[in-house]
Subunit: 308 residues, 2 copies
């Protein structure tokens, strides 16, 4: 079951950090780009090599990676091929893979997305796994019948989803913070749906297959949301580059210091560009990412201890 | 400008019908499947051949096609390759292509999605078009800064987006119909955002690059929403298989019988399976699709005339 595996990996690696693999070609060190050739094919080849080395350096220090689909779709079909290779390679290296696609649609189409990312596709000759990620981010604007096919797929295949509840961006309040007539905010209503959608997929360690995305940039909201979704695992973006501190990022963890993972993308994969890790140089980009991921885990773990 | 081109195509073809290209392998006639081989590669090859023949038969009777990403992602990387080929071929045949991906994310990632689907990707050697669709469906749950990159991309490249406002599925009310404290419903708030997001991208014919998805299954809501989004082009799903009639589907058209396109997927692409078109047989699947698309245009056009 996904959240059981996730908790086990977090404890084994002593790290609640997810490395966001959101590669733009300009992040890839020149020495890799020079060998990869031009065009979308070249960019995708460079991105794949960059990811491969990052995964090698990160696989024993983080429990999970979160490739963001947009950064692969941006490089066309070769980019999407690099995404598929990245997911397969990360899983081979023992990492859990959260595909960040924020997919959403009505029932029959939601079923197709669930098959694509988490389940299997039925062909005349039998079932075939298309991507086989461990979890997927999902947008719940369409309501229950748009989410249920994902939940059913999670239950059948031991996978997980994270529903957008309170996102980390500045404008997230435009809709999510609006008050409803009963005095609750829209994101609180979404939280109550997440709680009910996940009610019958609780793992051995108490967490449901239906998790929630709750930004580190809104710690007070995260604190409230933890109470509304006691069994939901939180995926916490917004730490680092977006402005969330470690103290902010741990607001949604439960009283035992569990129940959430904190994502960082650019600060990890571009660590070699930071003055903090300049000793690694461009050639040491993967080691710099590893050092940053370990420093971040320490930062989060210390904030968790300080809180308790 | 996208909505100008769309209106021109609707008038030229006398059809406000969008053919949804949502191919499952089981929809593809046996004679095509038999030639295509097995596995995801075979399924994708069969789907591409099916689409190619559908596009040939539909290209002079509908203004646009709407391939739904989930049905291609479901067939893995070969499926996504079939999606790319389908988009390119449809555009070659003079059709406008609405990529139905319901993409959404925070600012920088929304920019990447916009590049992927509508704009171009910046490589060290210059800009390259990745997919180059004419329009994309977008989920606005993340608020203004998650949508603005799409709008900017539309303005720079003469493209369009359709924001989910009131979706056609049964559970769409779970969130979208909730009353806010000012007495408006959530979908009405979304409509007011759509109106303001699109305010500075109005084409010569009075319609904005920022359109709205409004289900044919909710005609009263569509009637209200037309007043709230006077300049938004509506993309109307839910006609036919989902239960919306022609009279329902035209509720969101403006007083001049313009401003909306009605999608049908299965009823067009699987028309050959319907007793209504059985004279075509399996081998005549593309002609059956064409006949159904023309019958649907007639149905919608008559409902528009009956209304006025």
């Amino acid at each position: 079951m996904f959240t059981d595996k996730l908790i086990q990996a977090i404890e084994q690696k002593k790290s609640p950090v997810v490395a966001g693999l959101d590669p733009k070609i300009e992040y890839v060190p020149q020495l890799i780009r020079a060998q990869a050739g031009g065009g979308l094919e070249g960019a995708a080849a460079a991105i794949w090599e960059y990811n491969r080395q990052l995964i090698d350096a990160l696989c024993d220090v983080v429990p999970a990676v979160k490739p963001q689909l947009a950064y692969y779709e941006m490089y066309g079909l070769p980019g999407i091929a690099a995404f598929y290779k990245t997911v397969a390679y990360a899983r081979e290296k023992g990492l859990l893979v959260i595909a960040d696609g924020k997919r959403n649609d009505i029932g029959s189409t939601a079923e197709a997305y669930a098959s694509a990312f988490l389940g299997h596709t039925t062909l005349p000759e039998g079932n075939v796994v298309s991507l086989g990620a461990d979890a997927l981010t999902v947008n719940g604007y369409l309501g229950t019948d748009g989410v249920k096919p994902f939940v059913d797929c999670c239950k059948a295949n031991n996978k997980g989803i994270f529903i957008l509840v309170k996102t980390s961006n500045k404008s997230s309040g435009d809709l999510q913070d609006m008050f409803l007539q009963d005095g609750k905010k829209v994101y609180e209503l979404m939280a109550s749906y997440v709680d009910s959608w996940g009610a019958d997929s609780i793992g051995e360690k108490g967490y449901s297959a239906v998790g929630a995305v709750v930004g580190a940039t809104y710690p007070e909201e995260a604190y409230t949301l933890r109470k509304l979704m006691k069994r939901a695992f939180f995926l916490v973006p917004g730490y680092g580059t977006q402005g969330g501190s470690a103290a902010d990022a741990v607001a949604g963890f439960d009283e035992n210091g569990r129940g959430a993972i904190v994502n960082a993308s650019r600060s990890i994969i571009c660590a070699y560009k930071s003055s903090k890790w300049q000793q690694y140089g461009e050639a040491g980009f993967a080691e710099a990412a590893r050092a940053e991921a370990m420093a971040m885990a320490k930062d989060i773990n210390e904030a968790l201890e300080a809180r308790s």
